[in-house]
Symmetry: C2
DNA sequence: CGATAGTTTGATATCCTTCAAAACCTGTGG
DNA sequence: CCACAGGTTTTGAAGGATATCAAACTATCG
């Protein structure tokens, strides 16, 4: 099923009945704070599954919305459970996905707390580059990144103004270009160094 | 098995063969960055299980160490798997625990990125107060919190100096006392307000 | 082609860090 | 029971990173 950018897929407090699989496009997990700010806690990219929560937890503690036009497939809870029962490998894959999500959250937490704006953004770009490479979305050092500078700020705990100035510096340093929602990584090696990027947390080499 | 404060239980890169259950005392998840800093990404309190990772993921992407003297029980991987197979309720409980860990990480991420030092610490104290209440470790608005101000800083992405000044302000405001590793919450209501603390992410009301 | 969202710019304010040193605990050995 | 040692907390002064506010500029899309 196709949905336009901005669509809210699940809201905080919901008790959804389906698991959603993102086929194309990007989504993000968010909360809304009393002061109106809208922190972003994760990006979902093609191939990602939104919310195994629904089997176990009462309600969503956050929302999920689309960053770009996207194609999603909705899998009924019941079918999901059957499959998991019948095919342990599928159940294991779900465990795997959940544990990796957790690992990414831990790394993002480190990122927020212990790195400067410049390093933080560099780290995010390294991660996106790797994750998107895995699903074949990187062409020629570039990928589609449907993010505004404000959303980048909501993700990194920075003002849009400061994100802007930081991106300018990155461009000036010859590390990236970011035009028309396309991000080009011009120097992944220095980007990695700056961010002290250690990809082990993505657990990319999946077990036999 | 009893272990003294400071013991490293699992290190980054390890591939442990047991799941560990924390009976008494506190532990914490940490990473070590190239610059030598040591971010803390989670606290484990009595009743918490360390690392279901081991069934699925290759290696630990972080370490776990003890904040205080602690008693831990080590459960062999094999026994754990058998139990999960034989008793679906246990497997479900493990899912539940993992998903709650994830929810806590998301909330911590929001905390780091979108709240001031004062609010952040207030939020942490609210969370600890609730989690420890659940396991009967809160007596008379007080609980044992074996944390130095430096560790608090590593957790919140703050300098020990600033943690110190912030705690002083909290004391002056009559919200807490924190002496001899005992934290007393003197005014939970204002603390909650300051932190905009919304406990839903802890998913305390477990499903029937 | 105009409206609206997004980006860029400048000036000023604030929170938090850094560095350095003093004061205070806590436990240990004599 | 005292004295000392190491870790922890506290204090002060000064600097830096990021926020805030406000406005201009520039894409984008119907």
């Amino acid at each position: 099923m196709k949905k336009p950018a901005g669509t809210v897929i699940i809201e905080e407090g919901d008790r959804p009945d389906d698991v959603l699989l993102l086929i194309s496009g990007w989504a993000y997990r968010y909360k809304i704070l009393p002061d109106g700010s809208r922190p972003i806690m994760a990006y979902l990219v093609p191939g990602d599954l939104c919310d195994i929560h629904i089997f176990i937890l009462e309600t969503m503690d956050h929302g999920i919305a689309l960053l770009s036009d996207a194609e999603i497939v909705s899998i009924p809870k019941e079918r999901m459970l059957e499959t998991m029962r019948a095919r342990p490998r599928v159940a294991e894959a779900l465990w795997w996905a959940t544990l990796v999500d957790e690992a990414v959250l831990r790394e993002w937490l480190v990122n927020m707390g212990h790195r400067s704006a410049y390093e933080r953004i560099a780290h995010l770009f390294c991660e996106l580059w790797l994750r998107l490479s895995e699903v074949g979305e990187v062409m020629d050092h570039s990928f589609h990144a449907p993010l505004t500078q404000e959303q980048l700020g909501d993700t990194m705990g920075l003002t849009p103004v400061h994100v802007n100035r930081t991106l300018q510096r990155m461009r000036a340093d010859g590390l990236i270009t970011f035009e028309g929602k396309y991000l080009t990584i011009r120097d992944i090696d220095t980007l990695r160094d700056i961010a002290a990027f250690e990809p082990n947390y993505l657990h990319l080499k999946r077990r036999g």
